[in-house]
Subunit: 140 residues, 4 copies
């Protein structure tokens, strides 16, 4: 899988935790958000595989962004996670974790999103869903 960030003008600067984990946003449209994270030793747990917190962080990220798309860098919409649910399906076979998020419902005050983490072989590693509420001080 290869992603071209066609809408690079709306992609935001990486924030602190994003830099610590090392993921990169490669797509952010009204339909979906995609981030990529190359695996490395620093992300592994006591069993030598990616820590479940890595998948959770990626899913929280793509689902949150999925509900905040405006298409206009001058109008930023922001949201807080209310609940996050993650199902851990399998271990990665490849070297890159790719998370995709989609908004699936909601209204003016809150929204729902779903997400999936795969590796570059297409293996589905984890799925997630969540409820989010818009920050009242962000563009509605």
């Amino acid at each position: 899988m290869k992603f071209e960030a066609e809408n690079t003008d709306i992609l935001e600067e990486p924030y602190e935790f994003q830099k610590l984990l090392g993921f990169r946003m490669v797509d952010w449209t009204a339909e979906r958000v995609i981030i990529q994270l190359p695996m490395r030793g620093e992300l592994t747990n006591r069993y030598g595989i990616p820590h479940g917190g890595v998948h959770a962080a990626m899913l929280d990220t793509v689902m949150g962004y999925a509900g905040c798309y405006t298409g206009d860098p001058d109008h930023i919409r922001q949201a807080m996670t209310l609940t996050l649910n993650v199902n851990y399906l399998s271990r990665p076979k490849g070297d890159v974790l790719i998370a995709e998020g989609r908004k699936v419902g909601g209204g003016k005050r809150s929204f729902f999103a779903e997400g999936t983490v795969r590796d570059e072989t297409g293996e589905r590693i984890a799925t997630g869903s969540g409820a989010f509420r818009y920050r009242s001080d962000s563009v509605g």
Copy 2:
């Protein structure tokens, strides 16, 4: 709150992701697991507060360990997360995140756990629950 790790002989060496996030296990008994994580800029999201993935990682960690206590460093029990659910209650007022996990049920093949993230002022930041399965190659 202050925790004395009385059972330091069973505390394991920090693994890679643990070192990246910077949390430290301070208690691990049959009843509970506690880890601490001093806040720092690297853990913050685009809003300047701890990224939801941090709480998720902490909860996944303490709940997983909670079901794997044996009290004997020569007999290691291991588990994989099946599902993780996190509720984000509030923002931290303090400077240290403290996560506590407890096993709440289960059998020989799987277990359930609950957890809470507070800060050092006692403010409850997040709660979580999860289902885990024991690795078949670990001590039952």
Copy 3:
């Protein structure tokens, strides 16, 4: 366990689905909500044990009410479930399902709650958590 409904003046009339399942509210205070449901054949699944939907319905009910307590029957607060998470710990040994719900956080627009289903022997059958939003047309 025996519960005395001391605050019978605020207990509401049973609604339709409540009558179909057969549960009864026995306590509703600022601290907790408790409902009871005597087991019967109609509530069982293809294995002859209570259907998971029964526990889910009970947990959704007590958690939703937990966030809506006002103590005043003339001021009704209402809420909608955003997300519901249920962990199925064990099977009942007794003949009555008793669900208890508690509000654990939230603000003016939404709240979080936790709940537990036990039987009359004290056996913990299921635990749950959820996020709810207040209906804007109800007393805030």
Copy 4:
């Protein structure tokens, strides 16, 4: 939407709770499970809309069956729900609730499934996911 149950020979007899709620299985293949439930007053909550426990029960049902398909009525596979997560997206506009479940991963001992509840207009009412474990005494 109209469903023809082509594989009626593997559809099981309704069990007790199924009869109480009134849903009917209309499809059960390796790919998906579908059940239908005509709305009626008995299924409504204190607001006059379907109780959240109804959607939860339907999702638990279709997801559980989704992992137990064998295609052979003489070989029955059985599973217990470990965790159930439900997101409540909107209210039904129509008169029939239609739940669909799909297995999305797992192994010999446990599986994961996802599900959706729609009405006959296609409106998405609720989504769910869950982890289940196979009963050890059922065909593996």
